[in-house]
Amino acid sequence: MSTTIPAAPPAKSPAPRTQRRVRLTDRARHERNLGWLLAGPAFIAMVAVTGYPILNAIWLSLFDYRLTDPGGREFVGLGNYAMILTDGLFWKQFGVTSLITVVTVSVELVLGFALAMVMHRALYLRTALRTVILVPYGIITVVSAYAWAYAFSNTYGFVNGLLGLGEFDWFGGTWSAIATVCVAEIWKTTPFMSLLLLAGLAQIPDDYLEAAKVDGARAWQRVKRVILPNMKAAIMVALLFRTLDAFRIFDTVFIMTAGAQGTETLSFLAYRQTISRVMVGLGSAVSVILAVLVVLIAVMFVKVFKTDLSQQRGDRK
């Protein structure tokens, strides 16, 4: 699972371009050229490895194309999209994906906030504490999914013993299986959430809190009236990143349930069509739809909730 870090905001010097060009010194020009020289290869590589596959996927999604039957390739226009959007399975898996996203991101926000407070306020062993909290995020998702799959197993897992559930099969029912997936996801990514929130927490000047204290605000009031309003931007950014990530969930489901018991998500749908069935056209269409949904989520956060990505870095206007 990858997580995107926001790109650096544009430099804070909105001087008119024409003026700058006139004033450009030799040194500045050289530095600019060097900048292009250094960034150029990376830029070209990025376009090659991300731009090309995206365009190719959109192109392929217009075909009925099975990898094992290249001769049978046939242009179907938007037929694949129509088929997917009218198939009940797509909407069912959209529901499962949304459910997992909402549950995990909500729980992560609460837990992440608590952990961020602990990391922020700790007086002793700060570094050690932060390291310990961040360990789950450093573990590869597949590994953590296996660890949780074993933990919930009814033959050699410890969870049933701990909760006195006997031979209860967590992966044998839809709800319990989704619950295990959510637990694994929450354990794995809460540290990331707390890290983003910690950055927001660190931006609140101590003066605000002291002033509130002097005014007689109790702990909960300080959280509600001072900390949360001042952290809104950081919270929204954290929610945005985690929602985008959670919506694309694949590895945890793949390892823990292999999609059985109705736990398949949209990424799993794309995987099954593209990799298992080698229906490259249909699979590409699912992937394109998934990508569009992810973009819609991002747009919703930015436009509707007015998430300001630049504030995450403390560049307050």
């Binding site: 040194r27 050289h30 060097l34 094992t68 088929m83 033959t155 069935r277």
Partner: protein, 434 residues
């Protein structure tokens, strides 16, 4: 200032050179070498390969690549690489049900008539049948596989069934195990192992998952055979077992190894599984997780029947060695397969991995007969084994069956056959997703 700039330019230049060399390093050709890239599915294949390479006197050696240890993972990796015309693949280990898909796509080099005679001489009927597609041999059978019914002798009296006395049916086993308070382990997990079970039940009831003649038809013309009494019987038996007290805990998520764990447990009674379990019992005894006398209590018999009067169609598995169409060393690969799939290799493989040979002669070997007291039963099973549907669209077929027949406790003999058949045909004609 100037020298600093120059050094920057130098570093930028060297970064470019490094980048180009990294990209360039992706290619490479070792044409003319005698190293064959061999994709193996079982660790024991490596020992055989090492011996063959040594015996070849330098004619060839192997670069061993291990495939994922579950059938679907192995198929996906081979399929992706072969579809990309990966020239670095020479010999690939193909699970028989996937062979038709690869062969139809032109990914596998057909064996010549002369090679066919050599690689099929003395091979049992089950493994041979699943190595040929459209009357052409695409895989040299390395091992064949079939499931047996395994039972604990100590529970028979209470269960009131005795597989050693004659063939038993699934219904008798479910009732008997329930009566005795023991489990009947089968593979209810949604993966290829459940497909094996469904196919065996449908075939044993006299039906077939795909209607005959599907092999040469385009995907959208393939018709399913599940909406039939045989499909209904399969759904009924799976459901009855899943909801009976004889179903082990976690039945809908149990694969072969989970079944073995259930069978080894205190309330283990019956199990359908591949013969590897016999060697696995030994390993468990050696580790101390099973008592030394465990195997004395274990008996085996032919795969259970669906109806008392009709012989069962036992599941068929195994592994074949195929040559990639994109290999640059195809003739050398044929030579290597002559050793890899030879009688001695199959015997070694059976001894170490516990997987039954495809050659009939191995079963007459005194050493094998001593190690595998059930050798004759396996051999009979291999001859009666019914392969999973031979179809160039096998991925769709197994995907649809796994979706439609899972979880087993939700199945109904009234609705499942029609729904499963509908899903299968819709998926094949690209009208529904799985």
């Amino acid at each position: 200032m100037f020298p600093r700039q120059r050094s920057r330019r130098w570093s930028a230049g060297s970064a470019l050179v490094l980048f180009a060399s990294v990209l360039g390093g992706c290619g490479g050709d070792d044409g003319g070498s005698t190293t064959l890239t061999y994709y193996i599915a079982d660790a024991a294949q490596e020992d055989v390969a090492t011996r063959c390479s040594a015996e070849s006197g330098g004619a060839y050696s192997f670069n061993i690549q291990r495939l994922p240890n579950n059938a679907a993972g192995g198929r996906e990796q081979l399929l992706r690489r072969l579809a990309a015309e990966d020239r670095s693949m020479d010999i690939v280990s193909v699970d028989p049900p996937f062979m038709a898909e690869f062969a139809n796509a032109g990914f596998l080099r057909p064996f010549t008539e002369q090679e066919r005679q050599q690689f099929s001489a003395g091979v049992l009927e089950g493994p041979l049948k699943q190595s040929t597609f459209r009357d052409t041999l695409y895989s040299a059978p390395l091992y064949g596989n079939t499931q047996l019914l395994w039972y604990r002798k100590s529970v028979l009296a209470e269960a009131g069934v005795d597989p050693s006395a004659g063939p038993v049916t699934w219904d008798q086993l479910i009732q008997g195990a329930s009566r005795a308070g023991v489990t009947l382990a089968a593979q209810g997990r949604r993966n290829e192992s459940m497909m094996v079970w469904v196919n065996a039940l449908v075939s044993s009831a006299g039906g077939s998952i795909l209607q005959p003649g599907a092999e040469g038809l385009p995907a959208d013309q393939v018709r399913g055979g599940l909406d039939s009494p045989a499909g209904a019987e399969a759904a009924r038996i799976m459901h009855d077992l899943a909801v009976s007290p004889a179903a082990p805990a976690g039945f809908s998520t149990a694969g072969e190894e989970d079944s073995r764990a259930s069978f080894q447990a205190a309330d283990g009674g019956f199990m359908v599984n591949w013969p590897y379990v016999w060697a696995a019992f030994d390993a468990a005894i050696e580790e101390g997780t099973l008592p030394a006398t465990f195997k004395d209590d274990v008996g085996w018999a032919a795969y259970p029947r669906v109806t008392a009067g009709t012989e069962s169609a036992s599941p068929s598995g195994g592994l074949g060695l195929s040559i990639s169409s994109f290999s640059r060393r195809q003739d050398l690969a044929v030579e290597a397969i002559r050793c890899l799939a030879a009688e001695r290799s199959q015997k070694d493989f059976m001894r170490t991995a516990g997987n039954p040979a495809a050659l009939a002669s191995v079963f007459d070997d005194p050493e094998i007969r001593e190690m595998f007291p059930m050798a004759d039963q396996i051999r009979t099973g291999l001859d009666a084994a019914t392969p999973r549907p031979v179809s160039p669209y096998y991925g769709d077929v197994t995907g649809a069956i796994q979706t439609a027949f899972h979880p087993p406790d939700s199945l109904s003999p009234r609705t499942t056959p029609r729904e499963a058949n509908g899903l299968l045909e819709d998926v094949l004609s690209n009208q529904r997703l799985i």
